[in-house]
Amino acid sequence: MKTKVIIMVYNKRIDGRGFDELRPIEAKAGVIKNADGSAYFKMGKTIAYAAVYGPREMFPKFQQDPKKGVLRCNYNMMPFSGAGERVRPGPSRRSKEISMVTEKALLPVIDLNDYPNAVVDVFIELPQTDAGSRCCGINAAAIALADAGIPMKDLIAAVAVGRADGQIIVDLNYEEEHLHEFIEVESKEVADIPVAMIPSTNEITLLQMDGIISKEDFMNAINKVKGAIQKISEIQRNALKDKYGESIENGESIYNGESIYNDSDDRTE
């Protein structure tokens, strides 16, 4: 809807959020029974499912790595997931690129040394998108990989930050990516910056940018990522713990299984 509002700078977000505020998030682990690990992640109106199959034998054989396992990501939008026309099924150049940067975003924390010649396949499908789809996919994939028991240092979290009509904002939605189509703006320059980060070290594993922005504004935007990532990370962790009925009541865990786990279960011995 085009609202004729004349403002000098985007000083109130279209959906009423604070500039540093994330869209409402929902996350759930273990949603796809056939998969070795899986997750559902929703940021605002963008939804991603991620399923992990593996480690498993890798085909084609010539792609096997005898030193360690291989991570293989596949990102795909369902035909009905776009706000406008139908998205033709099948890989596009865009989806192939996103698959590749997703893989690079997740790999730095993952340890596949115990799985030579094997592959860990991550499939990301989006039934509904409203900007930030690659970040949503990465957030789902991180949960799914942990759910599958893949050894990793941390859960990668991702969010898009940016600048719209002079204002630095966190977690752009579709309208903000195309702000001038919705409100009168002083400047049509929008910068959309998806970032993935390791929450425990603040190191960046994915960084892309579309748009026009000064270096100063860019660094300001990047600094906003840390806070957002911590919030996302907490949601990812809770999604995993919730699957195990792990409830923190009054600071005490109610998990008290009659565990007969013993050393022989420790595979990495």
């Binding site: 480690p55 924390v109 599958a148 990793m152 240092k153 941390d154 565990s259 990495t268």
Partner: protein
Amino acid sequence: MGILVKDKTVVVPGEVLADDLGFVPGHGTYRQNQKILASRLGLVNIEGKVIKTIPLAGRYLPKRNDVVIGRVMDILVSGWRVDINSPYTAVLSSKETPEFIEKNEDLTRYFDLDDHVVAKITNVTSQNLVDLTVRDQGLRKIRGGRIISVNTHKVPRIIGKKGSMVTMIKQATNCRIIVGQNGWIWIDGEPDKENIAVQAIKKIENESHLSGLTERIKEFLEKETGIKVEIEDKGDYNGLQ
């Protein structure tokens, strides 16, 4: 600062377990400066100064001496290739059977494609090449019955302390049951009783993290079969029959 989590709680990758140089990072954890963080989804296990995590998820990785259930997927020149529900297949050499097999004999006389076997892993190389044997007591081809798949990490729970859990299920359903460490389980009995055994096992798999499980399974079995079961947690369970 010390330990930041309670023993036996569920932790996730990147979660800080301790903030103290006095503790040692064991399996499933790693050190980052002063802190010890979890490196997988698991249960915290604190023993003295060592903190480790016990995995809750993940596919079966073959381990020496494990008794597993496998499916013959290929006939080789001098043996069989066996699917053991792992990223790694195993090889059963014709020398590792109780019968003496001559050089050019037709191997399908012993194990044919898609036959299921109970076998023991004798060796796992650094590249995860796996050798099997069926020479020991109790190892053999299995016929009839049905095979289900469970999370390999739930196997200890399904077997129970000294086999108490699986023995209870066998008692109530009068089924033969063999639990492979690789998560494949063979059940053989009357069809309706097999179903009850399967349901009991799936129940254990889903509720393994909740307390009072043994009692609940006992109640379930008694209700479904009408047979009173005893919980025996003494004795020797070697995983077979």
